[in-house]
Amino acid sequence: MSLKAEQSHKRKRLRPRWHKQDTELTLLALPTTIWYILFCFLPMFGIIIAFKNFRISGGFLSNVFNSPWIGFKNFEFLFKSNDAWIIIRNTIGYNLIFIVLGIVLPVLFAIMVGLLHSRKASKIYQTMMFLPYFLSWVVVSAVGWAFLSFDKGIVNQMLVSMGSDPVNWYMEPKYWPFFLILLNVWKGLGYGMIIYLATITSIDSTYYEAAVIDGASIWQQTRFITLPMLKLVIVMMFILAVGRIFYTDFGLFYQVTRDSNSLFNVSTTIDVMVYKQLKTATVGMASAAAFVQSVLGCATILIANWIVRKIDPESAMM
């Protein structure tokens, strides 16, 4: 990741000319390089279809070259549609909440689990809380169905047994912002906790020993040793999350809501919209949305990193 250091290293080359070993290393890297060209770099150039009236039938290359340029027409369609603002609001709104909760809660619980007296119990909790990270969204969707299904779901049975009316959960948008946030936290909490805990356990214990001798309380140790030592990792996770602010977890918003039309206003994000348009074969708006997502995503990650570098050069990624 530290490109600067590598470039300075490159200047002091030991062997001046192309060597047999360079040929062999190139051959070794060739398959992966071809993979990168096919699956990463070709799509980057394919992004120009956002400015074209692209047709789906026929070969890809001939289509890209032959379809007429239409300038920003696709973008006009996109931003003039009523849904555009709902989709952008959902994408950025949910992501802001996820970024805040995705840092505060894992850090909090990592510190708490590190303070438990029993190491064995702490290990067991960590392992149990890591489980949701390994479940795919399709499985989570099945779990959600078991709880929220109208006629068979566990939640409705509880409501009925307490004398209330059952709720048709998949038709009621007002509950879903809460469900979606809850599920996102539930799935990522164990993972985040483990990352932060790994940093906490690697802090040199002499800091704490010195603090205890100076009479620092547990709270003061957390405030003045643990949190400052976590800063680097928190900033790294923050940059990564901000760089993905235009991307959402497609599975969360599409699978878990079971693509219910009633929930459109609270569950449609850029990724969901792009996927749906792609499946209905209307490429214009989808390609424009994907273009906006890629370009703004790239810009945000570079800007976030630039700001961090200004404030604290040590924490910057590039």
Partner: protein, 309 residues
């Protein structure tokens, strides 16, 4: 790793949270841990419930009437499910092996300090981390140009390499393989290919295991590639099958109907609801049993990724 483990030394014993605070913390974590595990228990118990009890009283956290019908059905007539299991296993195995080789070879090449194209290839790996072409153009290139529609390679190739993994590998090779080892092999006349396969890979098992695990879980849990590229039901993985069963539970009967029993009879008699959850269990069980043992490797990989490479 854990320098705060010496809990029983005098200082650590003295420097603890109050006993009451500890009890409160334990209660909080017990609740959290249960919330994380109970959903899987619910799916398991539905898969072991009898179909009649589900039809009459709905889903329960613990089964009201125990029954192994769903699993008996899978064993006897579940050709669709067993084929999907086969696809999942095949994709996971091929994908993991291919992915590890592609990732480690690139990681090794860009870790060699004197290699002439190192800067160029580092950029090739780095650029996709900040910019990508997006779903629409990837989709058209994979289907129209590379012809991956309805091919098992559509489930394997797009997920094989990630720049994140390449960088983990590079960092590992750079920090743990002594330059002298490779230089002496070069002087002995070994080719780079030989050095990579018979020296670098064998002594890099920890990082290979970590990357392999990442890939293994990613392939096993993938459903998105199937949704995009697979229409042919014979190529459905377990995830794709569960996905289609979530919207249409009768789909399970389709394939079995061709084996002599009529479709209508089968739809009426087969344990649909529990079989659907049994498919979910087939997906979850291997993962849930495996990850506690591999957690160590996962954590080492995740923390390497979170620290500057």
């Amino acid at each position: 790793m854990s320098t705060r483990t010496a809990y029983d030394t005098g200082l650590e014993k003295f420097n603890r949270t109050h006993r009451v605070v500890d009890v409160i913390f334990h209660l909080i974590f017990i609740v959290l841990a249960l919330i994380c595990v109970i959903p899987v228990v619910v799916v398991l118990s539905i898969s072991f419930s009898s179909e009649d009890s589900i039809r009459e009283t709905g889903y329960h956290i613990l089964p009201t009437v125990l029954s192994g019908d769903a699993y008996a059905y899978i064993a006897k007539q579940g050709t669709t499910i067993l084929r999907a299991l086969g696809v999942s296993v095949l994709v996971t195995v091929i994908g993991t092996v291919l992915g590890v080789l592609l990732t480690a070879s690139m990681g090794y090449v860009i870790s060699r300090p004197n290699y002439k194209l190192k800067g160029f290839l580092t950029w090739i790996v780095f650029i996709p981390m900040v910019f990508n072409g997006g779903l629409v153009s990837s989709y058209f290139i994979n289907t129209n140009l590379l012809g991956l529609k309805d091919s098992i390679w559509a489930l394997i190739l797009p997920l094989a390499v990630s720049s994140f993994n390449v960088i983990i590998c590079k960092t590992f090779f750079k920090s743990t393989i002594p330059d002298g080892l490779i230089e002496s092999a070069e002087i002995d006349g070994a080719s780079q290919l030989r050095i990579f396969f018979s020296i670098v890979l064998p002594i890099s098992l920890p990082v290979i295991a970590t990357i392999g695990l990442f890939l293994c879980f990613a392939y096993w849990n993938d459903w998105f590639q199937s949704m995009l590229y697979i229409d042919n039901q014979n190529l459905y993985s377990l995830q794709a099958l569960l996905n289609s069963l979530m919207s249409n539970v009768d789909a399970l009967a389709k394939n079995a109907a061709s084996m002599g029993v009529s479709y209508a009879v089968l739809v009426a008699t087969m344990p649909k609801e529990s079989a659907r959850m049994a498919v979910a269990i087939l997906i979850v069980l291997p993962v849930a049993c495996a990850y506690p043992f591999f957690q160590k490797y996962f954590i080492s990989g995740l923390t390497v990724g979170a620290v500057k490479g």
